[in-house]
Amino acid sequence: MADTNEAGRLKQETAVEKLLRRPEIGSFVVMLVIIVALAIASDGKSFNALGLKNNIAIIAQYGIIATGAAVLMIAGEFDLSIGSMIGFAGMAMSMMLKWGLPFGMGDATPITAFIVTLAMTLALGWLIGTVVVRSGLSSFIVTLAFLFFLRGVTEVSFRLINKSTQISGLPDYKEESWFANLLGGDVFGWFYDLWFMLGGNLNRRGEQWVEGFDARFLWWLVIAGVAYFVLSRTQIGNWIYATGDNKEAARANGVPVNRVKIGLFMFTAFCATMFAACQVFDTNTSDAAKGNLMELFAIAIAVVGGTLMTGGFGSVIGVVFGAITVGLVANAVFFIPAIDGAWFRVFLGGILLAAVFANERIRKRITGGI
């Protein structure tokens, strides 16, 4: 018994060693370095009451779409249409709020505008996924087509119906609609209340300064939490990993590979819609250029978070760290006025390259160097 046991040759690891070999460890260390460096360089301003809120706002935006991009990448596909989908969803929602629902269904409320928009974006996600799996074409090229197509449709629709590619001055729906407030209002007010009670969070007049985080913080936590649970603990999660690792092997074992992929293209469309909805109900504006380049940030953050470009491997926790890192650096210019904002892109490019190399090392280690 127990012959040819290669596993027995593997070194028994301590808990610390195991922790150090986790795929998230790289992005975690980078995140810690950035947090400390930023706190020092900004003289603490980036983590005071308002700094924290503003940083979390952009981190959550990145985090929402990066989660969708990462889960899709784990299943072995890309979605370059995320940014255009954000623009499309924002346009659709704000135009319904301003001009009413399509097909003469009457005036829109925040809920109906959101639901009709979500129905459209999910249908688009389904269409993209179906084209990819049916044609067998690379998702890179199919979604690149939708990147142009959706951005174009967004602009054309704006000009045709609205005569302008922007909408501003919508009423503040948060005041009356609980639903709009859920997407664009404040959350975790208790955190800032507590901070105030403990003697911090004060403005110049000595009153409570910040009331709460942007609602997108909550949505990011929900989306990342659900994605983490599904990936690590459920059958669908196993199917997602199996699909991205070796599609034919998964299919031979009865995994509905095509349904998994189509479902995940719908999930990225959902994430883009949540991004847009939080933006629309927060600012009561929209613009045809919204979400521009976001698809590339989403993919970059997924990779920085340890997701393999080749699929089959990745971690939502790593993507959370990646979103925090990239979000903080993107915002750094507001807290350290002396630096040129373009350094952000220099940093992102550098860390992306480093992450790709690190990920490749991890993949080689797992697959025994192949």
């Binding site: 459920t234 199996a242 092997a249 074992n253 697959t367």
Partner: protein, 256 residues
């Protein structure tokens, strides 16, 4: 003699004008290893793909326990108890042993959650039964040797109800020691007594070591069949080389 679990009668498979199989007969019995031998292009792959439900036969019949069956998909064949372990093994390297073992057939609790502990235990126990003690089934398959992956694929097929195990050249592309490991695994499965094994190989020695019964294919035809005792070494070599007399081959080679 017991009844064969799987019987194939006059199986013909044509792809357009090309006849891949020209009337093949085959009988496989529980607790026996049936070696399918033949040169490249003899029709071995077409035969097993037909048995696995990938191809539908043009003519001829497949019987399971005496009843005629028709497979329209690989799923039908696997439901009928035919488990095929292909050369590429249908395994995902980055996933853990357990996740591979249960791929597509995961054990679910409420809310679709995986019963991971239970699955780990089953994967470990099933692999131990046929010979490897893989202490940590949460390890990625990428860390396993080729022979161990073979064992994983075999254990998985058996656990999910295979009564006929089709092994497609399991020993090719492996080192000597691992080949022996796979042969031992085959013997262990045979010893259970309830599973029929179809062992496809190029290797005369391997088939001699574990085979109970042989079928030789050449150009889509059965050119010979018999039990281990019936077929002598000389005859075996003749059939392996596609039915040509060794003497003829020697002459041909000498003439060059």
């Amino acid at each position: 003699m017991a009844d064969p679990y799987l019987r194939v009668e006059g199986l013909v498979k044509r792809f357009g004008p090309f006849t891949a199989l020209g009337g093949v007969d085959l009988e496989v019995f529980p607790g026996e290893v049936h070696c399918l031998l033949g040169d490249n292009g003899a029709g071995k792959s077409t035969l097993i793909k037909t048995l696995a439900g990938v191809h539908e036969p043009t003519e001829g019949k497949i019987y399971i326990e005496g009843k005629s069956v028709e497979f329209r998909s690989p799923r039908d064949a696997s439901d009928a108890g035919i488990g095929t372990v292909y050369q590429d093994l249908a395994i995902n390297q980055l996933l853990s042993v357990t996740r591979n073992f249960f791929m597509g057939r995961e054990l679910k609790g409420p809310l679709g959650t995986l019963r991971m502990d239970e699955m780990n235990k089953i994967a470990h126990d099933e692999m131990l039964k046929i010979g490897i003690d893989f202490s940590d089934p949460t390890q990625a398959v990428g860390t396993m040797s080729g022979g161990q992956r073979q064992t994983l694929a075999i254990a998985r097929a058996i656990y999910f109800g295979a009564k006929v195990l089709i092994l497609d050249e399991p020993t090719s592309a492996l080192g000597q020691k691992q080949q022996m490991g796979v042969l031992k695994t085959i013997k262990k499965v045979r010893a259970r007594g309830d599973i029929a094994i179809i062992f496809i190989t190029h290797n005369e020695i391997h088939s001699r070591l574990v085979g109970d019964r042989f079928t030789f294919l050449a150009l889509g035809q059965t050119i010979g069949a018999g039990t281990n005792a019936e077929i002598g070494d000389e005859e075996m070599r003749r059939l392996m080389s596609g039915g040509a007399e060794m003497g003829d081959l020697e002459q041909e080679l000498a003439a060059i």
